[in-house]
């Protein structure tokens, strides 16, 4: 296992470009969420540029893996990564949240058909991913080589529906299902452990018969290895709890829950983009 240093460098540079796009389009939109998209940029980069079986030139390719974004509000990172991966022109990112745009404030398949699901209301993405994994298992049984990825926030684990889905996935032994929890510890009203404690989080997943992997969500090698090792798990769904730093990449935004649901203004954009550019693609984990 493991990816080369060269690959790590490429991924880090790509993630940095994606973060710059996120800051750029959020300032332009004048509304939207900043912390989650920034802290999930590394995981999205690994997925779209290393792990996912997909084809940006043929989004509906039937053999593709499926990626379900449950917490739709972090769509600036989804849109930016998709654009950088070649699904649509990067300049289209500027239309985010504008009238008639394919890039709706929360993802909507009616406008951008290459999305696997529309999302926004929290807590229902894992259920949809479970449905996809079940369909794949009905058609291909245990030999299925396809992976269904469900990307979840930590705050949305407060929704009871997430645990309904977790129970079912454990019961059905969905080895083809990989959930990723963005454990950034923040939500709109504050820090998750103050709003509604989630710990012991990994024990909760184990209790429903999931295989749990915990990683540093900003370490490219760890992210790539986690997805790779998940492929070897038999008879259990897999959850990767990715410890991330809310607002990762811009020191002024990091770990502050107030960046959950607001965009940068022009001045903050300048600071953020200067910071991202001067790092020159050398973002390293602080863990």
């Amino acid at each position: 296992m493991g990816i080369t240093d060269e690959k790590v460098k490429q991924l880090e540079e790509k993630a940095n470009d994606i973060r710059i796009s996120i800051i750029d389009i959020l300032e332009d939109a004048g509304s939207g969420h900043t912390a989650g998209p920034l802290d999930m940029a590394d995981i999205f980069t690994v997925l779209f540029f290393h792990t996912l079986k997909h084809n940006p030139q043929e989004p509906a390719w039937p053999e593709r893996d499926r990626l379900v974004l449950s917490n739709g509000h972090i769509c600036p990172v989804l849109y930016s990564t998709m654009a950088h991966a070649g699904y649509f022109p990067i300049k289209e990112l500027k239309t985010l949240r504008k009238f008639g745009s394919r890039l709706q404030g929360h993802p909507h398949r009616d406008f951008l058909s290459m999305l696997e699901t529309s999302s926004g209301p929290l807590g229902s993405g894992l259920s949809q991913a479970v449905g996809m994994a079940l369909a794949d298992k009905i058609d291909h049984g245990l030999t299925s080589n396809r992976r269904i990825y469900a990307l979840l926030s930590d705050g949305e684990l407060e929704c009871g529906q997430t645990w309904e889905a977790a129970m079912l996935a454990g019961k059905e032994r969905l080895h083809n299902l990989v959930a990723v929890v963005d454990r950034n510890n923040i939500q709109i009203d504050g820090y998750t452990e103050n709003v509604m404690p989630l710990e012991p989080l990994s024990d909760k997943w184990r209790a429903w018969n999931w295989h749990v992997i915990e990683i540093d969500g900003h370490n490219m090698e760890e992210i790539a290895d986690a997805f790779e090792s998940a492929r070897a798990i038999f008879g259990k769904p897999i959850v990767i709890i990715a410890h991330t730093i809310a607002g990762k990449g811009v020191k002024e935004f990091e770990r502050d829950y107030r960046w959950h649901g607001k965009p940068p203004n022009k001045e903050e954009e300048t600071i953020a983009i200067n910071e991202l550019r001067t790092l020159g693609g050398k973002i390293r984990s602080e863990h």
């Binding site: 529309s118 229902s124 259920s127 949809q128 479970v130 309904e164 129970m167 079912l168």
Partner: protein, 328 residues
Amino acid sequence: MLNPELKLNTKLFDKNVEQIPIRQGFGEGLLEAGEKNLQVVGLCADLTESTKMDLFAKKFPERFIEMGVAEQNLASVASGLAAMGKIPFISSYAMFSPGRNWEQIRTTICYNNQPVKIAGSHAGISVGPDGGTHQAIEDIAITRVIPRMIVISPCDAIEAKKATLASVDTGTPVYIRLAREKTPIMTTGATPFEIGRAQIYWQSTKPQVGIAATGALLHKALLATKELEGKGIEVEVMNLSTIKPLDEKAVIELAQKTGRIITVEEHQIRGGMGSAVAECLAKNFPVPMEFIGVNDQFGQSGTPEELIEHYGMGTKSIIQAVTKILKR
């Protein structure tokens, strides 16, 4: 007289008319759908026998998923299955699906444009002794308001079977409203059925009132009509089993022909089928209307017959409504 073209059950006015629960028709329809189409899957939230999904589950265990008591998950897992090309049918009591899981139906099924079929059993006040918590009398209102949703309320088990089979190929979300109790069989296998098409079951030469009924109460409307005929009052009766999309042409024609419309449904008056008819007629051909249904109340325990009478949906109430509207 009964519309001869529709090949209805000629014994439907008999005292010992055959009675079958509407949900049984769904169960048989799903079984046949499963035989015809390998993409059909069934999901149930711990009410497999009650909702008659057991017929499908026994025959196709590999295409049946027991969800446990988790209706929100039921709706969204079905959406995921549909996204992979499956045609999922989900069943529970209507109070819980589409009741408890309305937002999941709205967002993950309808907004997502996935062709999930929602079978809501034990709908209406005739669930009886279980009491008000289990009597879904708001389900038509909350489903017909969602874009893309087709809403069907079959009048008997035979029509329920046809509706279930027809819903497989719509490519859209469908809500099928089912009832628990045995109710009279009004149609036959030969009665034509088409989603979105209302049918005149009882024809009159010079009708003074038009009744649009949905679900099993259609039988009460027909009984009332027969009784009124003896008193020299001519009524025309429509089976409005597809509530959305509404057969506007047929509804307008009935209003034009009769000049007075009464709607009959086992549902809250506010927001139900009567409201759908009123929306159509207010815009296109306003006529006096009366509404038979539950008047902004919750139900209680009792026998189905007691409850139908108590909440003003029986034959007597329909006759009173006809008398009243004729004076307007």
